[in-house]
Symmetry: C2
Subunit: 327 residues, 2 copies
C-alpha cells in the first residue's frame, strides 16, 4: 500500500462519527472537543530493535503495546484518555493485512479505555518499524496527580504484581515455546500490558499525593517520585507483590525474582504514595473493584536515600537499577 492507501484504510477502521471527534483522520490536523479546559498530553515512541522485535511480537501486539504505553501515562496522572494520534513509519510498503493487524491491536486497547484514534502520520523509516503515540486526556477533577507531591511518612503503594513483563521478556528472548505455554500470564504481561485507567481515576479521586506508572521498573520509578518530591524511601522487598507464575519461573531459571520486580520495566502498574490512614481506604476501594494493590514501603527524608530492605534486613540501593536507554 502507498501512503494515501494506508491513511484511507486507517480512516475506514476508525469509522465514526465518535463523541468529541470534530475532525477525524485525513485532514492536516484532527479536532477534538475536550470536556475540561485542562488537557493531559503525552507522547511515547517504540522502535523495532529497541523496544520490540518481530521474532517474538505479532504486529497486533506492537500496536497494542504502543497504545498501552501512552494510555498508561494518562492513567498515571489520574486522568482519562480520550483521543490518540499514531505516527507510523515502515521500512517497506506494508500490506493491508499488516496495517489491519498493527492498527487493529492499537485500537483494541485504546477503545477498551475510551480513547479514540483521531489522526496521525505515515512515512518511510530508514530501518525497521517505528511508532509514536500521542494520547490526550482529561485530568481528575481535583487536578492531575504529580510525581512531586509525596510527603515524608506517606506510604508507597503499587497496583498488581511487579516484574511480570520482564519475566515474560526473559521467556521470549530464550525462544522457549514450552515456557511460553506454561507461563501465559507473564508473556501476556509483556506483549499486551493493560494500562490501569480505572485504578488511576480512583487513585486520583482519593487524592494520592504522588503517582507514576511502572514503565522503567519499580526502582527507577520510585526514585523519580523521590527526586521530584525531594525525599528518600524505604521499600520492603518482601511486600512487593509477585505473581505465582513469576515465582515459579524464577525458581526454575535460578533468577532472583527481585531483579525482575525492581528493575523490570513495562509493567504499566501504578506506583503511588498516600498518607497512612488514607492508604488503607484506597486499598479497600480498589479491592472492592477486584483491582489488586499493595503497600510496599514508606517515604523517608532525602538524606536516607532511595533503598529497599529485604527479608534478611539487607539494604538494596535503588538508584542505578532499571532500564536506561543510554547505559
Amino acid at each position: 500500500m502507498n501512503e494515501r492507501e494506508i491513511v484511507a484504510l486507517i480512516r475506514e477502521m476508525a469509522g465514526g462519527p465518535h463523541p468529541g471527534v470534530e475532525v477525524q483522520i485525513g485532514d492536516d490536523a484532527a479536532v477534538f472537543r475536550f470536556p475540561t479546559p485542562d488537557v493531559l498530553l503525552t507522547v511515547d515512541s517504540l522502535y523495532e530493535g529497541v523496544h520490540f522485535d518481530m521474532d517474538t511480537y505479532e504486529l497486533s501486539d506492537v500496536g497494542w503495546k504502543t497504545a498501552a504505553a501512552g494510555i498508561s501515562d494518562i492513567a498515571a496522572m489520574g486522568g482519562e484518555p480520550l483521543c490518540a494520534l499514531l505516527s507510523l513509519a515502515f521500512e517497506r510498503p506494508p500490506s493491508s493485512a499488516e496495517v489491519l493487524a498493527l492498527v487493529g491491536g492499537f485500537r483494541e486497547v485504546s477503545i477498551l479505555n475510551g480513547c479514540e484514534l483521531v489522526g496521525g502520520d505515515v512515512c518511510r523509516s530508514p530501518g525497521g518499524l517505528a511508532l509514536t503515540v500521542t494520547v490526550a486526556g482529561k485530568p481528575p477533577d481535583h487536578g492531575p496527580v504529580r510525581r512531586s507531591g509525596a510527603r515524608e511518612g506517606d506510604l508507597v503503594g503499587v497496583t498488581g504484581c511487579a516484574g511480570d513483563s520482564a519475566a515474560g521478556l526473559f521467556i521470549l528472548q530464550r525462544g522457549d515455546d514450552g515456557a511460553r505455554e506454561r507461563f501465559p500470564g507473564l508473556v501476556e504481561a509483556h506483549l499486551r500490558p493493560k494500562p490501569r485507567v480505572l485504578a488511576g481515576t480512583i487513585l486520583g479521586e482519593h487524592g494520592v499525593s504522588a503517582m507514576e506508572d511502572v514503565s522503567d521498573g519499580i526502582a527507577p520509578d520510585i526514585c523519580h517520585i523521590c527526586s521530584e518530591s525531594g525525599l528518600g524511601c524505604e521499600i520492603q522487598a518482601d511486600l512487593i507483590p509477585l505473581s505465582d507464575e513469576l515465582k515459579e519461573l524464577a525458581e526454575e531459571a535460578s533468577v532472583d525474582p527481585m531483579t525482575w520486580a525492581l528493575s523490570g520495566g513495562e509493567d504499566y502498574e501504578l506506583l503511588f504514595t498516600a498518607p497512612p490512614g488514607r492508604l488503607e481506604r484506597i486499598l479497600d476501594s480498589l479491592g472492592k473493584l477486584d483491582i489488586p494493590a499493595s503497600r510496599i514501603g514508606v517515604m523517608r527524608p532525602a538524606g536516607e536515600g532511595c533503598r529497599a530492605v529485604d527479608a534478611e534486613g539487607e539494604t538494596i540501593e535503588l538508584k542505578g537499577l532499571g532500564y536506561e536507554h543510554f547505559a
Copy 2:
C-alpha cells in the same frame, strides 16, 4: 548524557512558568489549559536518512524543521499553535551541545509562533536520529478550515513562492558550496521553512472554503483538496509564483522549474480555495501585511480531473506527481 540528564537539560531550556502550561516537562504527562473546548492536534515524524541527513543539516536545522512541520499543520486549519511535545530518539548518547542545538532549533521556531514545548519522550533509536513532534492548538472562531470544503468555481490561491524548498534540496544534494552561497533563499527555504501561522489565521477569519499546507508539493496537495471536496481543478502553471533565485537556478541547471513548483514538497506555504469575490479581498488583506499570495487556478467538476495548463496550453496531469514515501 543519559536519558535523565537529557530530560533535565530540555526542562531547563524550556524554563517557565508559561501561560497555559499547568504541568511542564518531567511528569508522566503535560497539562495545558486551552482557551477553547475544541483543540487541534497533529503529529509529524522526521527520520535521518529519509527526511534529512547530517551531511547537509545542522542539528539546529533538524530541530527547526521538525517543529515547523507540526506548526504548519495547525496553520493549515487556520489555527494558532499553543503547545508541543517532542519525542527524540538517538542512535548513541548525545552530548549536551547536541541536545542544546537540536532542541534550541526546535524552540526557536516554536517560540516565534507562540508554541511552548511542554513534554516529550527520549529513547534510543535502532539507527539514526528520529524526531516526532505533536502540536496542539486553537482552531479559528468560525471553526477549522477543512480540506473538504471547496466548491466548484472557487478560485485556488497559494501564499509565497512554490518549489524553493525542493530547489534548496537540489543544491544541498549536489554538495555545491558555491550554489549554496549564491542561492541562500532556496537553501534557507529547505532547512528552515517558516510556517504561515499569521497567514493561516487571516485565511481562517476570511472563511476560505478549503486549505492545506504544501508539504508534499502543490500537485499532490491540490489533489487532496480535490478528492476531499469531490471536485477537480485547473491550475494555470504560469500563475504559480516562482522566486527569482529558483528561476535563476532552474536556468543554470537546465531543470524545468515546474518540476520543483508542482512536485516539490516541504514549502509549508498555504494552498487554499475561496469564492471569486472573496479571493480578491483575501489577497488584499494578506498584501497589506506583506504576505505574498497569488491566485493560481480554479476548482472544476470532478469529471475534469486534477490538471494544470501551461502557457502553451499543454495539459499536465497532477495525479501521481509529488513525493510518495512508498513509490
